[in-house]
Subunit: 198 residues, 2 copies
DNA sequence: GATGAAATTAGTTCAAG
DNA sequence: CTTGAACTAATTTCATC
C-alpha cells in the first residue's frame, strides 16, 4: 500500500481543521488539482486514516447532562470487554486505553444514567477498581498529532506558513512562503531547463 | 433566544453522523427544504452549538508519534495556567479539568516532544505531581446525547431560556437571559475598553 | 420562518499525458 | 498519478408567501 506523503498529511490537517473546506481550496494549498484531492481524500477514507467526517458539538452550552471522567482499572483479560461496553454506552464520547490496563472514558450523562453506566457497562467481576470524576472544563483541539508540516521556503528559506503556496514541478512538490517566491523559483527553474536543453 | 427544536436536534444528529451529508438528503429526512436546512445549520454554528466540522482520524494507522495520557495534579490557583499551556501545546488534542483540580490531557507526540511538554507546559512550581501513561487504544464516538440548548447568562449566571438574547461583541458570541443583562454587560464591556485605551 | 426557481459554486468523470 | 474540460450535483440567493 502506498505510504502517506506530505501532501496527504497536509490534506488531513486541512480537513481536520474544516471537514467541509472545498476541494479547490485544498487543491490550491497543496498545489494539486481538485480531482486529485478528491481521489486522495477517497483513498484516505478507504485505507481508514480518515474514519468519518463529523460535527464537533459544544457540550457546555448543550446541557446534555453532566460531563464525567471515569477511570477503570480492569482485571487482566477484561480490558477489551470493558472498552467495548463503555464505547457502546449511550453518552460515552471518548474511550482511552492505557498500556497498564486502565480505561479512561469521558461521558456526557444525565444523572440517572451514571449508575447504569457503572453497573451495566463496567460490572463488578472484571474490574479491580474505578473512579468517577466530575469535569468542570473540557477543551478539545482536533489535530492530527505532530504531523510535521512546516517546511522552509525553497526560494528564500523562511518557514512556510498558512499563507504559503506549493507547486508541483515535474512530480516534485515545492513549498514557498509566498506567491512571489513561487513565481521567482518557477522563473529560475524554467531558465535552467532552457539552458540545459540548448 | 430561539430554543432548539426537534428538527434542530435531528439535523445535529445527522451531521454528527456525517458532516458532509448533502442538505437535500437532510431536508428530506426532516421534512424541510434544502435552503431551510442550510439556514438552520448556519444558525447552529452561529450560536456555537456546532463548533466545527472535522475529520475523525484513526491514529493507530497514522503513526503520528506516541499517544499519551498525562494526568496533572495542579497546585491551587494554577489549574487555569496549566490548562492553557497544555491546550496550546502542539499535539495536545484534549484537555479535561476535573472538579478536584486534576488536569487530564491526551496528546499525540513524537518521543522527543514529551520531555518538552513536561518541562515547558507543566513546569515544576505549579504542579504537585503528574503521571504519564502510554495509550494503546483511543476511540472517539461523536454523539449528541440528549441535546438541550441551555447556556448560562454571562452576566448573571442564570440559564438562558426562550426570552434570552445573544449578541456578538468583537467576533465573540455572548448569551444573556434578558435584555437588561445584555445592556449591563455591553455597558461594562465598553467601560473596560475605554479604560484600557486611555 | 419557509419555499421553489435561478444562479452560483463544488465535485466527479473521463480521455489523455 | 495527475490534469483540464465537460458534466453532474450541491448550495446559496432571492423574490414570495
Amino acid at each position: 500500500m502506498r505510504q502517506l506523503d506530505d501532501t496527504d498529511r497536509e490534506i488531513i490537517r486541512l480537513l481536520v481543521e474544516d471537514a467541509r473546506r472545498p476541494y479547490n481550496e485544498i487543491a490550491e494549498t497543496v498545489g494539486l488539482s481538485p480531482p486529485t484531492v478528491s481521489d486522495r481524500v477517497e483513498r484516505l477514507q478507504e485505507i481508514g486514516v480518515i474514519r468519518r467526517f463529523t460535527a464537533d458539538l459544544n457540550h457546555d452550552i448543550l446541557s446534555d447532562g453532566l460531563s464525567l471522567l471515569v477511570t477503570v482499572n480492569a482485571k487482566p483479560g477484561h480490558v477489551g470487554d470493558i472498552r467495548e461496553s463503555l464505547a457502546s454506552f449511550d453518552g460515552v464520547e471518548h474511550v482511552f486505553v492505557t498500556a497498564d490496563a486502565h480505561i479512561v472514558c469521558k461521558a456526557n450523562l444525565q444523572e440517572q444514567a451514571i449508575e447504569t453506566l457503572l453497573s451495566n457497562a463496567i460490572g463488578e467481576e472484571a474490574v479491580r477498581e474505578y473512579d468517577v470524576q466530575l469535569l468542570v472544563d473540557d477543551e478539545w483541539n482536533p489535530q492530527p498529532g505532530t504531523i510535521e508540516f512546516a517546511p522552509d521556503c525553497v526560494e528564500c528559506g523562511n518557514t512556510v506558513t498558512e499563507e504559503g503556496e506549493s507547486t508541483r514541478i515535474e512530480g516534485e512538490l515545492y513549498h514557498f512562503c509566498c506567491s512571489s517566491c513561487k513565481a521567482q523559483f518557477a522563473d529560475r527553474y524554467e531558465r535552467l531547463q532552457e539552458g540545459a536543453t540548448n
